[in-house]
């Protein structure tokens, strides 16, 4: 650097001034009052605010630690019935997303392939123009939210736009959808008080489920009572560690396994004959199908599951007084997705759904509407974007579906062919980078929302309150949609101005109903329970406004003593359900062959590909395997030796879609015919790309009914 | 250089060794005091200190002995 004398003088002067302000400022110069707040870092007062975590379907209560009105940490809310003070890695790091430097700070418009910041008014104008000119019948909406209220709002918008093309990706509704379709109703919870045997078909109860924390606790209690459970899954995930028997099986064979179990029960005659006689409409057809095709020997030859395990499991299932054959959304992730689920529903039906419970109290409007909002899901799904020329407007709410499904190139092309794509994502991710307009949503901690859940056996409404004022010019997507409905006059009698009004309209009946309590105290004692049942209320509020404010303050409302009943639906399941479209039902054929298969598994650090931009989670992602910032594959040592692949070395993994580099981890619990690879890394839209996204290399195999991708049917080679 | 200056410089170099011995001593005394203050490994500190201090003093002593005897006997007639 060259420096002449004048520069030096300037520098000297500058540093002198700096000294005067910085060093002697307090004493010598009187700092004007206006400047003080800028210099003063605050009194560091600690406060706690309660909200709800929206990172996964779990709806855990969060206690956010605020220092001078800024959140710094989040822990579990001990008063929430969902998590009782515990919290998972995603919840713990939820504050970091708030401060993430990659967050979008204002609405963005794509001009010549580059995003430009625009004002919200302008963005909203573009959105209303597009919808009013081109909207009716030509719009599609892909959303991912675990809030039934938000989902309902989106459906209301699309109903106003006269479009069926809406999918709200909601774990709870996806999990209950097979019940709704096969039995016209769905169970609300597993009745852990009576349930004494569980067969789990691939669900990761303690990691990814409707409430991982509730299930973690319940499964511990369940086991402490010496109850048994078996898990059929393609990978020994942490929740299968605890299973009394883990039977490795590929997800597309769940249907065979479930029907094989049914075969044993039918042969033994140990099924619930009264229930089946009264409620199972097409039982004879079902029985015929099972008896013809699903003998344990046949199942073994197809799936590789030893018939002794089938028989053992089936007998335990049949002899249990209240068994549950459990599945959730994850059962759908295979080419036989819905058939898997139907088969498990049928298996449950054989024992009269004895382990499932249903909330009797149907007066609560939320739970009435839940059904309307969530299900039956329309048959449209995001895969159907491909080749659909009618869609002129696509709206995307928080769903990174390009990232978490195979066949991404087709999707990308389909999306870029749509003239107007509007994303509400708070980040630039793999999906929102394709959008023409982004109206970023608030961060979870800046947001108002509510979630309902019945999975614990009690109706719970958890509220998410904005613990901090929005940092940037982001807009609550709920507010956008509410004003869209109002401005475009899409609904009659629409009186809501904000999302808050919409939520309140749903929660008013809860207040009027009068039962239950806020999450402001521990679960009431037995005495309080008797008082409660005698008609005493624990309400600490006198008006709806007060109720609403307190609900936000305490993180929600729940009814600790609900009236429940057994779940005894009429089963309308037919043989067609199980042999859907004549596809896939190919008894006797070993579909898997001898080749290695890529099995993509999920971990509890990322649910649907939007969490691993968080530095803490990204670092910890492979910590237990000591792999950091790169994709690893887990391989059975026997397989590895056959392929002469060394432990903790780098290999190239090749599929039909290309090849990627991965770090080899020996894991003797991996199915010898599989190579397990974790889902979550490989966000190509982030500034720094760690690892690869295995979906990108996965074959585009889908369950036709739901459009869920198969995660374990891609042939793979190691080169 | 004058003999006087040279002698002073020599004395200074010798005193380095004494400074070392004395500072080692002070250091160890400090460590023993600290150990005593925090009530932690007092005996071990004491014994190790005694051993180490002795060695350094002997070494300094030997060097001084050589220095002073060389100067003392320098003018002796052969």
């Amino acid at each position: 650097m060259e420096m002449n004398r004048r520069d030096f003088a300037k520098l000297l002067g500058g540093s002198l001034i700096g000294f005067a302000v910085g060093g002697a400022g307090d004493a010598l110069l009187k700092i004007p009052g206006m400047v003080v707040p800028l210099l003063y870092s605050g009194p560091h007062v600690e406060t706690w605010k309660v909200t709800t975590c929206a990172k996964c379907p779990g709806k855990c209560g969060l206690r956010v630690r605020m220092i001078d009105k800024f959140p710094v940490q989040a822990f579990g809310n001990p008063l929430s019935p969902m998590n009782k003070g515990g919290i998972c890695p995603m919840g713990l790091t939820s504050v970091e997303n708030l401060y993430h430097p990659d967050r979008l700070t204002s609405p963005m418009k794509k001009v010549n392939g580059r995003f430009q910041e625009i004002s919200y008014a302008e963005a909203y104008g573009i959105l209303t123009n597009a919808l009013s000119s081109n909207g009716k019948g030509k719009a599609a909406f892909v959303a991912q939210t675990d809030s039934a209220f938000m989902g309902g709002l989106i459906k209301q918008l699309m109903a106003g736009l006269e479009s069926e093309k809406v999918v709200v990706d909601n774990f709870a509704s996806s999990s209950s959808m097979p019940f709704d379709r096969a039995a016209a109703d769905h169970p609300d919870f597993i009745d852990f008080e009576s349930c004494d045997y569980i067969v789990n078909f691939g669900s990761q109860l303690t990691e990814i489920s409707e409430s991982p924390l509730y299930f973690s606790r319940s499964m511990n209690d369940f086991r402490a009572k010496r109850n048994e459970f078996s898990t059929f899954s393609p990978k020994l995930t942490p929740d299968a560690y605890k299973a009394n028997r883990w039977v490795p099986v590929s997800p597309e064979f769940y249907v065979d396994v479930a029907l094989g179990l049914a075969y044993v029960i039918l042969t033994d005659g140990t099924y619930d004959k009264t229930f089946v006689g009264n409620e199972f409409k097409d039982f004879d057809g079902f029985k015929k199908l099972v008896m013809e095709n699903y003998s344990p020997a046949a199942v073994e030859s197809r799936t590789g599951v030893a018939s002794k395990y089938l028989i053992e499991t089936a007998r335990k299932f049949a002899n249990a007084s209240a068994p549950v054959a459990y599945f959730d959304e994850s059962i759908l992730y295979s080419s036989s997705g819905m058939r898997n689920a139907y088969a498990v529903v049928a298996l449950n039906a054989l024992k009269g759904f004895a382990g499932y419970g249903k909330l009797k109290d149907r007066e609560l409007p939320d739970f009435e509407n839940k059904k309307e909002n969530e299900s039956p899901q329309s048959s449209w799904n995001s895969r159907m974007l491909i080749g659909d020329k009618d869609i002129k407007i696509l709206m995307i709410y928080r769903s990174n579906f390009v990232f978490n499904s195979p066949g991404q190139d087709d999707l990308r092309k389909a999306i870029s062919d749509i003239p107007m794509v509007i994303s509400f994502s708070p980040f630039i991710d793999e999906t929102s980078e394709l959008a023409d307009l982004i109206i970023p949503d608030h961060d979870d901690l800046e947001k108002l929302d509510a979630f309902s859940s019945t999975v614990t056996g009690a109706p719970v409404i958890s509220t998410q309150q904005p613990v901090v004022k929005p940092f940037y010019s982001t807009v609550h997507t709920g507010d956008v949609i509410v004003s869209l409905i109002a401005d475009l006059k899409l609904s009659k009698n629409w009186s809501c101005k904000k999302y808050e009004d919409y939520l309140q309209s749903y929660l008013k009946p809860v207040y009027k109903h009068g039962k239950g309590m806020l999450m402001n105290q521990q679960k009431p004692t037995g005495l309080e329970k008797s008082l409660h049942q005698a008609g005493w209320q624990m309400a600490s509020y006198s008006s709806f406004d007060e109720f609403w404010q307190q609900m936000l303050k305490h993180g929600g409302w729940w009814d600790p003593f609900p009236q429940t009943s057994k779940y005894k639906p009429a089963v309308s399941l037919t043989v067609d359900h199980l042999t859907a479209n004549g596809r896939g039902d190919q008894p006797g054929k070993n579909a898997r062959g001898n080749s290695l298969k890529l099995n993509i598994f999920h971990r509890n650090f990322d649910y649907r590909g939007n969490m691993l931009r968080n530095p803490v989670l990204t670092e910890q992602f492979g910590m237990d395997k000591d792999v950091y910032y790169e994709t690893w594959i887990e391989i059975n040592p026997a397989t590895a030796k056959r392929l002469s692949v060394g432990d903790r070395t780098k290999v190239k993994v090749k599929t039909g879609k290309g090849a990627f580099e991965a770090f080899v981890i020996y894991n003797p619990a991996v199915v010898p015919a599989n190579i397990d690879v974790p889902f979550g890394l490989g966000h190509t839209a982030s500034k720094k790309v760690y690892g690869v996204n295995p979906m990108q290399y996965s074959d585009a195999v889908f369950d036709e009914e739901t459009g869920k991708p198969s995660l374990s049917e891609t042939e793979v080679k190691i080169v | 250089m004058k003999d006087r200056t040279i002698y002073l410089i020599q004395l200074m170099t010798l005193s380095f060794n004494w400074i070392l011995a004395i500072s080692v001593t002070l250091w160890f005394i400090n460590l023993v005091v600290v150990a005593n203050q925090v009530k932690d490994t007092q005996t071990a500190s004491l014994w190790i200190s005694i051993l180490a201090i002795t060695i350094f003093w002997i070494l300094a002593g030997v060097l001084s002995y050589v220095f002073f005897s060389l100067h003392k006997y320098a003018d002796e007639v052969k």
């Binding site: 515990g86 973690s216 910590m623 | -």
Partner: protein
């Protein structure tokens, strides 16, 4: 004076790693760079270890356990520290004095549990992590050794709070972040000398064991064996 200890019930533990994250964010443990992490310098005070696999495929289960500092009663790290940067305080916690550490890493070499981690590089954190620093815990500079301290800052806060309220500390006033976070209450924490406390009862349970008990380090973190 109480003697704090911890018992981790492996029967309940669901390997969810929430304790690991909680520890990381509570104690401002450095997130190292990609290069460092891949070269064995990732820093975790609490870590999920897979000890071994039991059984044969498919009836195989990994034995996993969360491993933090064992807070030994006879700590081998203290013996070798040349500057008293690690010491056992009056409540039995093996604490670290970061400003005193000279970074010789002798304690790391002598810890049989490999719980100590070293700040190999300058502490450069992503912006969002810096914003979420726990104000109660200092951020360690490069070149010092650190490890789990049973969230000793929480003890200080709890005891000062109790003092301000003119009462004695009660069980449950002070728990480390991992204990608070554990979704399945697998970790119990408290006074080992109090025979009535849960942790003391559990530590005398027949299922209880300590890691590398044979070394005579007398860990105050014990485990309850998972049984079928």
């Amino acid at each position: 004076m109480p003697k704090y200890g911890m018992v981790i019930d492996l029967n309940k533990c669901s390997s969810c790693q929430a304790c690991v994250t909680a520890c990381k964010i509570e104690n401002n443990v450095q997130i190292v760079s990609e290069y460092d992490a891949q070269h064995g310098r990732a820093m975790f005070w609490m870590k999920m270890l897979t000890m071994e696999f039991e059984g044969d495929y498919p009836n195989i289960r990994p034995k996993t356990l969360p491993r933090n500092c064992m807070q030994c009663d006879e700590p081998s790290c203290i013996k070798v520290c040349p500057v008293r940067a690690t010491y056992k305080n009056e409540v039995g916690i093996v604490a670290q004095i970061y400003p005193q550490c000279i970074g010789c890493r002798y304690c790391m070499a002598n810890c049989p549990y490999t719980v100590k981690v070293f700040n190999w590089d300058r502490n450069e954190q992503p912006k969002e992590v810096e914003k979420c620093y726990d104000p109660d815990v200092s951020v360690r500079p490069k070149g010092v050794v650190e490890k789990c301290t049973f969230c000793i800052h929480r003890l200080q806060i709890a005891s000062e709070k109790a003092k301000a309220e003119h009462r004695d500390m009660e069980p449950g006033d002070y728990v480390p972040a991992c204990v608070e976070t554990c979704p399945v209450d697998a970790i119990s924490f408290g006074d080992l000398d109090d025979k009535k406390s849960e942790v003391s009862k559990e530590s005398r349970d027949y299922r209880s064991f300590a890691l590398l008990d044979e070394l005579g380090t007398v860990p105050k973190v014990r485990y309850l064996n998972a049984i079928e």
